[in-house]
């Protein structure tokens, strides 16, 4: 196993554990405002210092991980849950009306930068974590649909699929029995990449105020709060940023490592 894969797995594990532990325990109370103890640098009492309201940064980062995890996970789930079946169906009838519809809709969604989708959704429903999930998830659908369709198409031309058709198996059965299992590795790898992109997107949306709303902590909003304090206490900006960086880095290393370990021929799209 390559060291980068192990590093990636460790970083990812740390992130997930931090999010899970935060439900049970955090070093400090993330809702306890203590102006007297504001903007303290890292110390024994506050390992990562305190923010502009005197809250413990470590606790904030742990609780913020929860939001990132939830938003990214649901968004990827939404993208996979809808995108993969659509891609499979489109590939099974290449050139058919469903294929055309799926591909054209994909193109249309790709024409809207994901943030623009988020802005539109926020314009209608108002900001919030749920809408962030929706905005990121919608953008994930065409990613998975396109990837699945492309890979499935190459399988439909393979002789073992022809053999299954000669054995009288229909499209849904072949898709489930022969194609999907062979796509699993590819989807796992792309899933980790979309997961990391989802965390970045959630942070960006929260930063501009379109993501999770107070009092739910999120890394993006921690950075937004830190912006005016950055010259006074750089750690308030550095800590949440590093949390994002390390998590995304870990997921990317994990994805690349999995790709190499599972099948060197896999090539997920980075777009």
């Amino acid at each position: 196993m390559k060291p980068s894969l192990i590093l990636g797995a460790l970083l990812t594990l740390t992130f997930i554990l931090a999010a899970l532990i935060s439900y049970l325990w955090t070093p400090g109370d993330v809702e306890a405002v203590n102006i007297a103890a504001r903007l303290q640098p890292p110390s024994a009492a506050h390992w990562l210092g305190t923010d502009h309201l005197g809250r413990d940064m470590l606790s904030m980062v742990m609780t913020g991980a929860r939001t990132s995890l939830a938003v990214a996970l649901v968004a990827v789930g939404l993208g996979m849950g809808l995108g993969v079946p659509l891609g499979l169906a489109a590939a099974a009838r290449q050139g058919g009306w469903l294929d055309e519809l799926v591909m054209r809709t994909n193109d249309l969604i790709f024409a809207f930068p994901s943030l623009v989708i988020a802005i539109l959704i926020t314009a209608i429903f108002g900001p919030g974590a749920l809408n962030a999930i929706l905005a990121i998830g919608i953008f994930n659908i065409p990613v998975f649909a396109r990837l699945t369709r492309g890979a499935a198409l190459s399988f439909w031309r393979r002789e073992f699929i022809l053999a299954a058709r000669v054995a009288g198996k229909g499209v849904p059965r072949i898709s489930a029995e022969h194609i999907l299992p062979n796509l699993a590795n590819l989807l796992i790898v792309q899933g980790t990449i979309q997961f990391s992109l989802g965390i970045l997107a959630e942070a960006g949306l929260s930063y501009v105020g379109l993501g999770a709303q107070p009092p739910v902590p999120s890394w993006g909003r921690m950075l937004a709060d830190a912006q005016t304090m950055v010259s006074l206490a750089p750690h308030v900006a550095i800590v949440p940023g590093l949390a994002i960086l390390l998590t995304v880095l870990g997921l990317n290393l994990l994805g690349d490592g999995l790709r190499d370990a599972l099948d060197p021929r896999l090539r997920p799209s980075r777009a």
Partner: protein, 569 residues
């Protein structure tokens, strides 16, 4: 292995390592290409062991053997294009200079000028985004051999020489606008543009149709004779070798097992491996005589169109007609061949028979019932026709075990066997194709190409079909394995009274395994008859041209154990 051979013959000189290898020529002048004790390892794996051979100016040396024998690696060594991780010992001299020790700069100056090379795959060997004329000119310009204008004139001259008519194929064309044979001509033009002393051709016709193959081989031999070049020809096809080479070297597992003048090697076949290769190439499967029964499969005026992409959004849809109203019958027990060149529609036709492709007109029926009714195949009919495909690697879901793969056609039965009955059926199918019942649990990637084709046959036979379609089923196999699979097919036909349609581009294979043959060209069947009759006395001009183009092995001089006798093909 390589170590022991070096210990035995320190310095790699002196005693020849193999029977039949000639002692190195000691008297001057040395041959143009002179290889001595060449040993090559990549990452600790021995690829070539103690390879020695020599090729004088103006001669053709054919290097032959099965896949993995090391013949292509020898060719790459001779042009100094070995993979970076390759470690070599021994000598490989071209006009007196040792290519194994020459620095990269000097190798670059030598490649293209003194040695040219033609590769196997014409579809990928050319840069897709550069005009063919520019690609030919580049050989000249990169060596600064001529001015631009001079290079252009020389490129035009060479392209005309290799048969690219400037009226029809101007140098401004891109590779994708050319056929495979035309692209291979461009490849040859690039290789000979600077009149190299040595031309290396690595399976130059393996990817081409038989008529194109004959033209390219004629072009290559003509070039060698006219320009006084030497040619190192790499091929797996003994019939090709027999027709053109002055000398043959037979390779097996990284060693040259036998070499000498072509006629002598063909006649003597001193090494047992050489003998096995020749026998397998000439192999005729023992077909038991049959009396055909009633009509089983009937194809009537079958037409298959493929829609073409529109030229622009408002253009009318056009279609390509792959099968143009084909009719024929197969009677119970008959063994029929379907031959034709790539793109003639033979695969489309066989897929239509399997019910995988709809027809636009006409009908295909089994015992009078249509295979497809309302676009849906009838499972009861479908289970009576099964198939074996070409690709031993692409024909199986890589995630399934052998047992699961073989049992897949059970899906066609209304009441598929379960538990012990299923086990027994799988075991019986494996035994029937010469494998063992315990192979059932193994994953498919544990098997070789030949074993995989046996598994494919087991899958086709498990529900006891009446008709099997072999779609290029032995085309990807080496000759010795191919002979074994053909024997298996013949045996199954004898023991089970199976009828089959054997689709292939390879005329010698079809001759050895069928009683009747259909010749297909551009979507139509142009000739049908008894296989021996059609092959020996073709009536249609196209069949005649096919038969003339096919390379053939001469009859063995010592009678002996093979059964093909002196038959052509």
């Amino acid at each position: 292995m390589s170590l022991s051979s070096r210990q035995k013959y320190p310095g790699g000189r002196g005693a020849p390592a193999t029977r039949g290898a000639e002692p190195p020529v000691r008297q001057a002048p040395e041959a143009l290409l002179h290889v001595e004790g060449l040993t090559l390892t990549i990452g600790g794996t021995a690829i070539l062991q103690d390879v020695s051979m020599s090729l004088p100016q103006g001669q053709i040396l054919a290097l032959t053997g099965e896949s993995g024998s090391g013949k292509s690696m020898t060719a790459l060594a001779a042009i100094g294009l070995l993979p970076e991780r390759a470690e070599t010992s021994g000598r490989l001299r071209l006009s007196g200079r040792d290519l194994l020790t020459l620095p990269e700069r000097e190798l670059c100056a030598l490649r293209g000028r003194e040695v040219g090379m033609v590769f196997q795959e014409p579809m990928t060997a050319l840069n897709p985004v550069q005009r063919i004329g520019d690609q030919v000119m580049e050989t000249i310009l990169i060596h600064r051999a001529m001015s631009r204008a001079g290079a252009r004139a020389r490129a035009a001259e060479v392209m005309a020489r290799v048969g690219l008519d400037p009226e029809r194929i101007p140098p401004t064309r891109y590779p994708h606008e050319l056929s495979g044979g035309q692209r291979q001509r461009v490849g040859i033009a690039m290789a000979i543009a600077l009149r190299p002393k040595l031309l290396i051709a690595d399976e130059p016709t393996t990817a081409l149709d038989v008529t194109t193959q004959a033209q390219i081989l004629e072009l290559l031999t003509g070039l060698v004779r006219e320009e006084g070049m030497a040619m190192l020809m790499i091929t797996h096809d003994l019939a090709v070798v027999a027709g053109m080479a002055d000398r043959i070297a037979v390779m097996n597992a990284g060693r040259i097992v036998e070499q000498g003048p072509t006629a002598q090697v063909l006649a003597e076949q001193r090494h047992p491996y050489t003998r096995q290769l020749f026998e397998a190439s000439r192999h005729k499967a023992p077909l038991a005589p049959i009396t055909p029964g009633e009509t089983q499969l009937s194809v009537q005026d079958a037409v298959r169109d493929y829609p073409l992409p529109r030229e622009h959004p408002f253009a009318p849809r056009r279609a390509f007609r792959a099968v143009k109203g084909v009719s024929f019958d197969i009677r119970r027990g008959e063994r029929i061949g379907l031959v034709g060149e790539s793109g003639c529609g033979k695969s489309t036709l066989s897929r239509a028979i399997l019910g995988l492709e709809p027809l636009q007109a006409g009908q295909i029926s089994l015992d009078g019932k249509p295979i497809l009714s309302h676009g849906k195949p009838d499972p009861a009919l479908r289970r009576r026709v099964q198939v074996v495909f070409q690709d031993p690697y692409g024909s199986f879901n890589p995630r399934h075990s052998v047992g699961r793969i073989i049992a897949e056609p059970f899906h066609l039965l209304p009441d598929p066997p379960k538990g012990a009955a299923r086990q027994t059926a799988i075991a019986a199918a494996l035994t029937a194709v010469g494998l063992k019942p315990e192979h059932e649990e193994a994953p498919i990637h544990a098997f070789s190409g030949g074993q995989r084709q046996r598994i494919a046959i087991a899958r086709a036979l498990i529900i006891e079909p009446e008709l099997v379609i072999f779609d290029e089923a032995v085309s990807a196999l080496d000759v010795r394995v191919r002979a074994q699979i053909l024997d298996l097919v013949a045996e199954l036909s004898r023991t089970r009274g199976l009828s089959y349609l054997f689709v292939s581009h390879d005329l010698s294979v079809v001759r050895s395994i069928t009683d009747q043959v259909l010749v297909m060209r551009e979507g139509e069947i142009v000739e049908r008859g008894a296989t021996a009759e059609v092959f020996d006395n073709p009536r249609h001009w196209y069949t005649k041209s096919l038969m003339e183009a096919a390379p053939r092995l001469p009859a063995p001089e010592m009678g002996g154990d093979d059964d093909a006798g002196g038959e052509p093909l």
